[in-house]
């Protein structure tokens, strides 16, 4: 599991790669929260193009980051999920509160 965060003009893009489950979500949560709290970006974009597996732990991770960035006055975007991941996002109904590009 890897996370690479780059920031430009108030937009932070977190590119995730590997598998998201309950085990790896803990590490991702810590990395993303540390960045959001320190840098306070206007937009946090989570790029899922490199994610090869995600169960509902990924949904919990996204909802948690949505709440955090909202508290910090910013907003969350999800970018480039693969079709299988998009299906999981649809089941959760998360697309009603988070923009998926």
């Amino acid at each position: 599991m890897k996370v690479n965060i780059k920031s430009e003009n108030g937009t932070a893009i977190a590119v995730l790669s590997g598998e998201i489950d309950h085990h790896t979500a803990k590490m991702l949560r810590a990395e993303l929260d540390k960045f959001v709290i320190t840098m306070q970006p206007d937009i946090l974009a989570i790029d899922l193009s490199g994610i090869t597996f995600m169960d509902s732990s990924g949904i919990g991770l996204i909802i948690g980051r949505y709440k955090l960035i909202k508290e910090c006055g910013g907003r969350l975007e999800i970018r480039s999920p693969q079709p299988y991941i998009r299906r999981m996002l649809k089941i959760s109904g998360i697309e009603r509160i988070v923009k998926i590009i």
């Binding site: 598998e19 489950d21 309950h22 085990h23 979500a25 803990k26 949560r29 597996f53 169960d55 509902s56 732990s57 949904i59 919990g60 991770l61 909802i63 948690g64 299988y84 999981m88 089941i91 959760s92």
Partner: protein, 145 residues
């Protein structure tokens, strides 16, 4: 039940074994030549069930998770995942979408909903103080057969 092939294994309730369980089940299922989507569905359902054992069944304790996978006639996959943890007092409530008893772990409460969506049949049996057994079945498509 006529069983064409079967694998049984046990893992300790460590979160790192969520991926171990997925990998073992996937490599067993591959002999039935599932589609990529079917394999993803089964991996996800297994991951949800094993995570439930760790997060809910053995919360703040540890134990073992028993996993049985069977290949049945007519390309049907049978999976049983069992813990000896705390059990579920109200299964109906636990199976409601978004219900969770572990919000501090950012659990979305979608585990059973995902298992139901990605598999054909889901059965949950539980006894408080004894543990929980989840049984899932999925018929693979007959592409090329």
């Amino acid at each position: 039940m006529q069983i064409l092939n079967e694998i049984r294994f046990t893992v300790p309730s460590l979160s790192v074994n969520e991926s171990t369980a997925r990998a073992v089940v996937s490599s067993f299922i591959v002999q039935a030549d599932p589609t990529v989507e079917e394999l993803s569905d089964i991996r996800t359902a297994v991951s949800e069930a094993v995570t439930n054992c760790i997060v809910h069944g053995y919360r703040n304790t540890s134990g073992v998770i028993d996993i049985t996978v069977r290949l049945l006639p007519e390309r049907e996959i049978y999976i049983r995942i069992k813990d000896n943890g705390c059990g579920i007092a109200d299964i109906q409530q636990a199976m409601q979408p978004l219900f969770t008893t572990a919000p501090e772990e950012e659990r979305s409460g979608l585990g059973f909903s995902v298992m139901e969506s990605f598999m054909d049949k889901l059965t949950v049996k539980s006894k408080v103080g004894k543990g929980t057994t989840v049984t899932m079945r999925k018929k693979l498509s007959t592409h090329g057969y």
